[in-house]
Symmetry: C2
Subunit: 104 residues, 2 copies
């Protein structure tokens, strides 16, 4: 049972908000948004286990936030910013800048 990542029109708002409600995942998304160059999964969130990381990337992928492909032994990730922005205009930006803005 493999998960087709959702097409642009199928991206679900609840799934996106749920995916973004976890700080760890939000951190990954923020890092992905900060630079366009794809990075291997392992270079994110070094403080958590590999399996937990796999889990978080799966949630992001199933929500439609992230696209992944293999490259050698590692797996690259890219933020589907175009799709998200097209489907939910302004949402991603406001979430990311909210994080940056609301530092206590």
């Amino acid at each position: 049972m493999s998960f087709e990542p959702p097409a642009r029109d199928q991206i679900d708002l609840s799934a996106v908000l749920h995916a973004l409600s976890d700080p760890q995942r939000r951190g990954i998304v923020a890092e992905l948004a900060a630079s366009d160059t794809p990075r291997p999964c392992g270079s994110f969130a070094p403080e958590i286990t590999k399996s937990t990381r796999t889990h978080h990337f799966r949630v992001l992928r199933e929500a439609g936030l992230v696209e992944q492909w293999k490259e050698g032994t590692s797996k690259m990730s890219r933020l589907r910013r175009d799709d998200i922005d097209a489907r939910f205009p302004g949402l991603l930006d406001s979430v990311l800048s909210s994080e940056a803005f609301a530092q206590v």
Copy 2:
């Protein structure tokens, strides 16, 4: 153990996103955002049970999205739009308009 609703500076992004990730709660927030006149809890989401409704309002209140006060036998609710907008500029608007925009 009663919940102090969070002050503006204590409103947590994860809690807000989690609260908004539930369609039922997002519906309540959307209705609250649509009209300024406070309404009793019972006038929302008539398809779910009273206790479930109470639960959802508690999540919204603890996340800082909603303020409530008693008025006679009923309990009124008000969206804390000013606080949310001040803390996370653009977030609430983009979530609400995302819902309206992305009708499949």
